[in-house]
């Protein structure tokens, strides 16, 4: 086990990153004209927690900086200072600086000079505001009700639980902690004490009426009572200038002899707010249920308990389970043969059960690696906000299917391609305000991100309601670049795919945001690396949708299994375009021993895998009357690879060859087949490089 402090530090970095993300998300969601106090508390708490933890784990620079952010937020959350869009921008910049701090601290480095300067400037601006800010007078109508000039705070009735002493509760501590929040007055109520004869000295019969003047929020007060609040023994009501008297029920209890039970019963008859509002026709029932849903969601968010586990541990588990699945398959196959003769029922059913359990175990273990796609989506609200400002476009972002789960590795590798697609959509897709107005579209452009799973794959869409791809412009460009022969007219769908060709950009003006001619091919390359593919739907004038289709996990690959000589190989299905049988005459030899095939007018190099991989065996695919070819594409190049037999299409569990043997050019990994034999997974770009090298050597 490594240094414990090191582990805590890693946990600190992760948590601080999450807190910074949360702070950013809250800031972006803030409606400046109608700020929710809870949001302000969230922002404050994020800064506060990072500060506290940074101090604990030895990052004084981070602690000092977050302290500044915390102190500027403090008066804001208390309603003493208003939240402004200017302050929001400053805090967003603060989030960026926190991230830079975290990033550099992780590498053991100080903040780079550029960021240090930015930080100094920001702190100075925040400070100036802090001291120079005009605090609105309490009479200002814009101020929230909780104005600080009059007494704010709570009147609290607390009936200590009967078992408080027996549970080791320190009641004194509660009052001490309350006292720290502000000025506290207490009145002890001993009226529930039984007569001496009935008194069990270990029972607690005490109750208190408290008056706490404080700027703290209700949650902070409730937290102090966390271990002693049970149901109705704690009542907290806000103090208001006019209402500094106990609730009516309490007076009635004291003066008119109404029993507390009767008061409770009467109180219980009060209807929930939603019901009352619906009855009076102020709100629709659907709106109430939506609001309740939202509330529930908030609740479950805070309730979701998580456990941090290192990815390394999980990967080891995933590997082990992968092996277990194979062993189980081998066992099942062997048993099937043995059982065919003896027919032992109990063994057969036990094996069936083992099969089911192993499969479920595998699914569950794979599931540990899955994280919600929200982790990628969450960065886009900020980006859209910034891009909109930068390009002077009104943008709206909608997110859908954020709970869809993806392999964690994907999450990291999806960031770049998605960022690219979103930037493109905003820059090239969404028209200018004027243009939108002219064409009768809403001035605000919409970018929609959507994730869903379908047929064992995860689909992620980036959609915009902009101008869409222009097939004519793509055609012109494609002809110019020799990608399409002049005088031909491919379908719009085929044309749309051309934007993924290296160096293809149709943006007439290169802008800061996107459109330097590199990019879309890189996006496609990245998605292919993940074993996925990309689709485009576009309607001129209506917008485009880019759809990324990804496998559920990196540990499993959709493969085409083939036989070459006596060996089985797996082609990643993502790089296979088609497979076909050709006539011997279709393959022609050019320049000595290079072979090409004329496929619908295009000459494609033929690679004889058997020769390239130096495989022996009896069969000679060259001698076959009708060679079997698999057409593949990688890094923009195509090739037809000759194989002896197509075995089938199946999902395989990827094993690293490097960790078990060594790196082999042209092979990306291995897998174990159901019968226990090992099959190698072909690295298509590697094969293409290998062939280029071999051809050079032969020449």
């Amino acid at each position: 086990m490594s240094d414990p402090m090191e582990q805590f530090r890693n946990a600190f970095f992760e948590e601080a990153t999450e807190l910074a993300d949360g702070m950013e998300a809250t800031l972006l969601a803030l409606d400046i004209s109608a700020v929710e106090t809870e949001d302000l508390h969230t922002i404050f708490r994020a800064a506060h927690s990072i500060k506290g933890n940074a101090g604990t784990f030895g990052f004084p620079a981070i602690a000092a900086f977050t302290h500044q952010l915390e102190s500027v937020m403090d008066p804001v959350r208390q309603g003493v200072r208003p939240m402004t869009s200017e302050l929001r921008e400053q805090l967003l910049q603060g989030v960026d600086l926190i991230r830079s701090h975290l990033h550099n601290a992780r590498q053991g480095e100080p903040l780079p000079p550029k960021d240090q300067q930015a930080q100094d400037l920001l702190v100075e601006r925040i400070r100036n505001q802090e001291f120079g800010a005009v605090v609105p007078t309490p009479s200002a109508p814009s101020m929230p009700a909780a104005s600080p000039s009059t007494a704010t705070g709570f009147s609290i009735r607390f009936d200590a639980p009967r078992d408080a002493f027996r549970r080791g509760v320190n009641l004194e501590r509660i009052f001490r902690d309350l006292g720290k929040l502000g000025s506290l007055q207490t009145w002890l109520d001993t009226s529930h004490l039984p007569g001496m004869g009935d008194l069990d000295p270990e029972d607690c019969h005490l109750a208190w009426d408290l008056r706490l003047e404080t700027a703290a929020c209700r949650t902070e007060v409730e937290e102090i009572f966390e271990f002693v609040a049970e149901g109705d023994n704690l009542r907290i009501a806000p103090l208001t200038p006019t209402d500094q008297v106990p609730p009516l029920g309490e007076i009635l209890e004291a003066v008119a002899g109404v029993s507390p039970a009767d008061v409770r019963e009467a109180l219980a008859q009060q209807k929930p707010l939603g019901e009352l509002l619906v009855e009076s026709g102020k709100v629709k029932p659907e709106a109430v249920s939506r609001a309740l849903d939202q509330q529930q969601k908030k609740r479950s968010q805070t309730d979701a308990a998580t456990l941090r586990v290192s990815t390394e541990k999980i990967d080891r588990l995933v590997n082990l389970v992968g092996e277990l699945v194979i062993t189980q398959a081998m066992l099942a196959q062997a048993a099937q043969q043995a059982l065919a003769s003896t027919g032992e029922e109990p063994l057969a059913s036990a094996l069936l059960q083992l099969d089911r359990q192993t499969r479920e175990l595998q699914e569950r273990v794979m599931g540990i690696r899955m994280v919600p796609v929200e982790m990628v989506f969450s960065r886009f609200p900020r980006m859209i906000h910034e891009l909109g400002k930068q390009l002077g476009k009104d943008l709206e972002l909608t997110l859908e299917g954020q709970a869809t789960e993806l392999d964690k590795t994907f999450i990291e590798m999806l960031v770049d391609p998605m960022t690219h697609l979103v930037r493109n959509a905003v820059d090239h897709g969404i028209e200018t305000r004027e243009e939108r107005a002219r064409t009768g579209k809403p001035v605000t452009g919409t970018i929609a991100l959507r994730a869903y799973s379908r047929g064992g794959h995860i689909h992620i869409e980036v959609r915009d309601d902009g101008r869409g791809l222009d097939p004519e412009r793509i055609l012109r460009k494609a002809v110019e670049r020799g990608l399409v022969p002049p005088e031909t007219r491919p379908s719009d769908e085929e044309l749309n795919l051309l934007i993924f060709e290296p160096g293809f950009s149709t943006a007439e003006q290169v802008s800061d945001v996107s459109g330097r001619g590199v990019g879309m091919d890189v996006v496609r390359q990245n998605i292919r690396t993940l074993g996925g593919r990309i689709e485009v739907d576009s309607q001129p004038g209506r917008g485009s949708t880019f759809r990324l289709i990804l496998p559920l996990t990196l540990a499993i690959l959709d493969g085409l299994t083939v036989r070459v000589a006596d060996e089985t190989f797996v082609f990643p299905l993502a790089s296979v375009l088609e497979s076909f049988q050709c006539l011997p005459d279709d393959v022609r030899t050019v320049k000595g021993d290079r072979e090409v095939i004329n496929l619908r007018g295009e000459f494609i190099p033929v690679i004889r895998l058997k020769r390239l991989l130096e495989l022996g065996g009896d069969s000679d695919e060259g001698a076959r009357a009708r060679p079997l070819l698999v057409l593949v594409e990688a890094e923009g190049r195509r090739a037809a690879m000759s194989v002896d037999e197509l075995l089938g299409q199946q999902q395989v569990v990827i094993k690293s060859l490097e960790t078990h043997y060594r790196r082999v050019e042209g092979i990306s990994g291995a897998t174990i087949l159901g019968d226990g034999r090992v099959a190698l997974i072909l690295d298509v770009p590697g094969i293409l490089r290998l062939e280029a090298g071999a051809a050079l050597a032969r020449a």
Partner: protein
């Protein structure tokens, strides 16, 4: 002599984290890997606080709380249970057994100290 805290957890990582945090804060620490070992350790000691996990081999945390409360010297000692569920259920079970309070996992060192300070 400082205040002594007994921490009980079958996960050594979790224990290390707790021990580290509390030692930094100046407490003396005793450790145990399950309820049985904890009872053994606790006997004859003057403890200011017991922090125990719930799910443990041999004897779980809830049973440990009941056993401790049955011993005269631990009748009024603050006991915190660590729970992975924030559900009312486990909190109530802990309370019924005689626990003073709870800490919901995962928690930061800061949160741990905060809760410890709440009951000490």
């Amino acid at each position: 002599m400082g205040k002594c805290i007994l921490t009980v957890d079958d996960s050594s990582t979790m224990r290390q984290m707790i021990v580290f945090t509390l030692k930094e804060a100046g407490f003396e620490i005793l450790e145990a890997g399950d309820g049985v070992e904890a009872l053994d350790r606790a006997k004859g000691q003057k403890l200011s606080l017991v922090i125990t996990d719930v799910n443990m081999p041999r004897m779980d945390g809830i049973t440990l709380v009941k056993e401790l409360r049955a011993l005269p010297e631990f009748r009024f000692t603050p006991i915190l249970v660590l729970t992975t569920e924030s559900g009312i259920d486990m909190k109530q079970k802990g309370k019924d057994a005689g626990a003073t309070g709870w800490i919901v996992k995962p928690f930061s060192p800061e949160k741990l100290l905060e809760v410890v300070n709440k009951v000490l």
